[in-house]
């Protein structure tokens, strides 16, 4: 079995996350939002490392395709994308340790995209069924 990341999923994650960061962190004070966004993008960039990608790939292979998946933080970004691209993920739970505002924004981005993906993976269209 070979898993890939669908271009719609990848594109929507990047677009929605960047839009939400700018909308939610907007500040009328000149350049203030950049200072807030910069470390968040840095963290996101680190989370998209090849190591995390490989770990996510393996974790996704072991996903049973039926249960909710759990978002534990920005390092799960690849895992979320692999699962949503390849299965009909019924829902995404959030780990209680996720407390930062920007990680919650990212969580809602994945929830939104997982729900949208149900148009492609209908109830009986999951790979596993």
């Amino acid at each position: 079995m070979q898993l890939g990341i669908d271009s719609q999923i990848y594109g929507f994650v990047m677009l929605l996350y960047s839009q939400q960061l700018f909308n939610q962190l907007f500040n009328a004070e000149e350049n203030a939002e950049w200072e807030k966004i910069q470390p968040i993008v840095g963290e996101f960039h680190e989370a998209l490392s090849e190591k995390n990608r490989w770990d996510a790939y393996q974790k996704c292979i072991n996903y049973n395709g039926l249960d909710n998946i759990v978002f534990t933080g920005v390092n799960d970004s690849y895992y979320m994308m692999y699962c949503i691209s390849n299965y009909r993920v019924p829902g995404i739970d959030i780990d209680p340790k996720v407390t930062t505002f920007h990680e919650k924004i990212l969580y809602y981005v994945f929830v939104n995209i997982a729900k949208k993906s149900h148009k492609i993976y209908n109830k009986f269209g999951s790979r596993l069924i």
Binding site: Y10, G11, M14, L15, S18, Q19, V41, H45
Partner: protein
């Protein structure tokens, strides 16, 4: 859609994100749009169609891409289809060009060259025997380039999305309009498709007709 070559696009995207975060954070929103699915679909369509035509009688040796933006979707697709041939990217935005240069340095140093040029107002020295412009709706008629390089094979895309008024200044409604706008007289291929609610059009062709080319050679 999924194609294994997209993994390369995603890798280049992440590489560029690291540089952007340190040097051009205000470009993040613009940058995040360059991997949106419309980009992937239209570039995949372009490379698949071009490779079919190429297999017939065209020899793609060197490609110039006008208004290339970051080019991170089309460059891996072109390499996959045509091998490691030289590709020149042209964009007017100096920050975009700076990020693009970083993306292609090291592993693509010898193959991808990035130029900061306004393709309407600057003098260009296009080296590609194939010239691609996927953003004809953003600029003045392509005929002014086509007349300067009449021998090249052109691959042009445009759309009818007039909602983005401040950017889409030269939309077209059909393939004939696109060919006429660019003065492509020998259309080898013309196709249109719906991409996310807009009609996207593509023509592949040359300004000179085959008999004119042959006569010029003799």
């Amino acid at each position: 859609m999924y194609d294994p070559v997209l993994d390369q696009t995603y890798r280049l995207f992440v590489k560029g994100m690291g540089y952007l975060q340190k040097n051009h954070i205000y470009k993040f929103k613009d940058y995040s749009e360059c991997v949106f699915d419309t980009q992937v679909q239209s570039k995949w369509w372009l490379t698949e169609t071009l490779s079919k035509r190429e297999s017939r009688d065209r020899n793609v040796k060197h490609i110039s891409i006008l208004a290339s933006w970051y080019g991170i979707v089309i460059v891996p697709l072109l390499f996959k289809r045509f091998g490691r041939i030289p590709i020149d990217l042209y964009d007017v935005d100096e920050y975009t060009v700076d990020i693009a240069k970083y993306i292609y340095k090291d592993e693509y140093d010898d193959m991808v060259t990035v130029h900061c040029k306004d393709i309407v107002f600057d003098d260009l020295d296009l080296k590609g025997n194939v010239i691609i412009n996927c953003s004809c709706e953003h600029m003045f008629d392509m005929s002014h380039i086509v007349h300067q390089y009449p021998d090249a094979l052109y691959v042009l895309q445009s759309n009818n999305n007039r909602n983005v008024k401040w950017l889409h200044i030269n939309c077209v409604d059909n393939l004939g309009e696109l060919a006429s706008q660019a003065d492509i007289r020998n259309v080898i291929c013309g196709e249109s498709k719906q991409v996310y609610g807009q009609k996207r059009m593509m023509i592949i062709g040359t300004h000179l007709k085959d008999e004119e080319k042959n006569a010029a050679r003799n």
